[in-house]
């Protein structure tokens, strides 16, 4: 064990891990956050707390992690390099660890032009891979960037994201390897809708020995409606949604679409469990956290079944 992370414990024990995403509110309302957190409590191994996701201003990820931790959650602090320079990033890592947060997911973040502050400066002092290496050096070398030693290293379980579907396609596994070599202990992938391409990606990862070096959690997002499927296919950066899935949603009566979306998610989760090297799933039920219990139950992934 490199850390005191509960997620690391689950993964190293070889249990199929379940993480889910929880987006902080656009404001300071703690009750909204707690309400979302309540639906996930006791069902998942760790909760990802997004960092101003899609460049929309929200409650800070560190604060929301701390509140969720207080409820009994195991939070994963998502950190993007878009909004903070290396001084602020390293400082927030110290602070998050001091608050009991034991997992961090290092990201670059969606470009600021996607959000509600389009006129903002994008910082991008570091990129996600440099942030990974920075947190790893803080933990393992007990040093910050530049080599100064620190008092009390943040012993974080370090994660990175991977998108098997972005271009150039051949480059995706090379980038995954770069992230793992830079310090990623676990990987959470972008939402997967194209299973064939994901299987190819996992084959390549296995051939390169990457599944031995890091735990890969497959990302899944249930569609709430055909509108959402279409929107994600057309508007969301880095998505690969096969037309047949959109058609399947479109062919379902409106009142049954949410149910069908969950059915698709459950089918995908079952297929992920068959793929060698997939250590768990990462469920991104966007503004649909209350459906997580149902999805996990239908997928046969209630905690008792995962041991």
């Amino acid at each position: 064990m490199k850390t005191e992370s509960q997620l690391e414990k689950v993964l190293r024990a070889g249990r199929f891990a379940v993480t889910a995403e929880c987006g902080p509110p656009k404001g300071s309302n703690v009750e909204i956050l707690k309400e979302k957190g309540k639906h996930l409590l006791g069902l998942i191994d760790a909760v990802n707390v997004t960092d101003n996701q899609t460049a929309i201003v929200r409650m800070s990820s560190v604060a929301a992690c701390s509140i969720l931790k207080g409820m009994g959650h195991e939070p994963i602090l998502q950190m993007v390099t878009r909004d903070r320079n290396r001084i602020a990033l390293q400082s927030d890592i110290f602070g998050a660890y001091a608050l009991g947060i034991r997992n961090v997911l290092c990201l670059t973040g969606d470009h600021q032009t996607f959000g509600n502050q389009k006129e903002a400066t994008g910082v991008f002092d570091l990129d996600s891979i440099q942030l990974l290496k920075t947190v790893k050096d803080m933990r393992d070398e007990e040093k910050i960037i530049g080599g100064e030693s620190i008092q009390g290293p943040p012993r974080m379980f370090i994660g990175a994201a991977a998108n098997p579907f972005a271009d150039p396609v051949d480059w995706r596994v090379v980038r995954l390897a770069k992230k793992i070599n830079a310090g990623a202990d676990f990987i959470q992938t972008q939402c997967i809708f194209n299973m064939d391409r994901f299987e190819k990606f996992m084959n390549q990862a296995r051939e390169m020995g990457l599944t031995e070096k890091a735990f890969i959690l497959a990302g899944i997002t249930p569609f709430k409606s055909v509108g959402m499927a279409r929107y994600m296919a057309e508007k969301v950066a880095g998505m690969d949604i096969p037309e047949e899935l959109v058609k399947r949603m479109a062919g379902t009566p409106k009142e049954k679409q949410a149910e069908e979306g969950i059915k698709i998610a459950v089918e995908f989760i079952q297929r992920f469990r068959e793929i060698k090297g997939v250590a768990g799933i990462h469920l991104m039920a966007i503004e649909w956290e209350h459906k997580v219990p149902e999805i996990l139950e239908k997928a046969g992934l209630v905690p008792a079944a995962r041991n």
Partner: protein, 222 residues
């Protein structure tokens, strides 16, 4: 070269309406190449301003002049005779030209007519592409002569990000993904191995982050 574009007449007028005489000064270097502030554009802007004032029944003195370079004193001195006859200077130079004129003609207001955008190249007729941010620490040799700092919207040094699709950037379909260009070019050159190494955090102290920069060379001084 420095690439710039002309401001709207209304915005320029808001800045110069208070003067009765304006010397409109073009620059025949970079901003001529990008068709924003050369001789032709200076003449066109002066005419447009005269027309605009005529419509409002006003008749300020508007004189044209063009310098070979607005950022070098030897050239700036060429308008020394005309400047005293005008209340203000309207510069079609880049931001450096505007500030150089203001340094030399210290008692005259100098107003910019252009928005200075970037260091770039003329990619084809009427198309100018940003390709250098002047970071002061050129690493083009490692990236197939495509700059990740200028050409990637997120300045990624270990890219590409997850938003690269079909060679296009997630920010806008008109933007080529810089990392797609880097990978293709290094692949064609048989040098893809350059990209497997981890690139450590950039030293931005040589860029504007270190404050306004200055080059001082004694061997070039009188």
């Amino acid at each position: 070269m420095i690439v710039a574009t002309l401001k709207e007449i209304d915005e320029i007028r808001k800045m110069i309406d208070r003067y009765d005489s304006v010397l409109v000064v073009g620059c025949d270097s970079c901003v001529a190449e990008c068709a924003a502030g050369g001789s032709r554009e200076t003449m066109l802007l002066a005419s447009a301003l005269k027309l605009s004032y005529m419509k409002d029944h006003q008749n300020p003195t508007i004189t044209e002049a063009v310098l070979d370079r607005q950022c070098v004193d030897d050239f700036i001195d060429q308008i020394a005779n005309q400047v005293p006859d005008h209340e203000a200077i309207l510069s079609l130079g880049c931001g450096a030209g505007v500030q150089a004129l203001a340094r030399v003609y210290r008692d005259k207001p100098v107003i910019p007519a252009l928005n200075t955008l970037f260091i770039g190249e003329t990619q084809s007729r009427g198309v100018w592409q940003e390709n250098c941010l002047g970071c002061g620490n050129c690493k083009l040799g490692f990236f197939g002569a495509v700059c990740p700092v200028a050409r990637c919207s997120k300045k990624l040094m270990n890219g590409p990000c997850g938003g690269s699709k079909g060679g296009r950037c997630e920010v806008h379909p008109e933007i080529s993904c810089g990392w797609d260009l880097i990978i293709r070019r290094l692949d064609a050159l048989g040098e893809l191995d350059r990209l497997t190494e981890y690139v450590p955090p950039v030293d931005w102290s040589t860029s504007h982050s270190g404050g306004p920069r200055k080059v001082i060379r004694e061997d070039q001084q009188p």
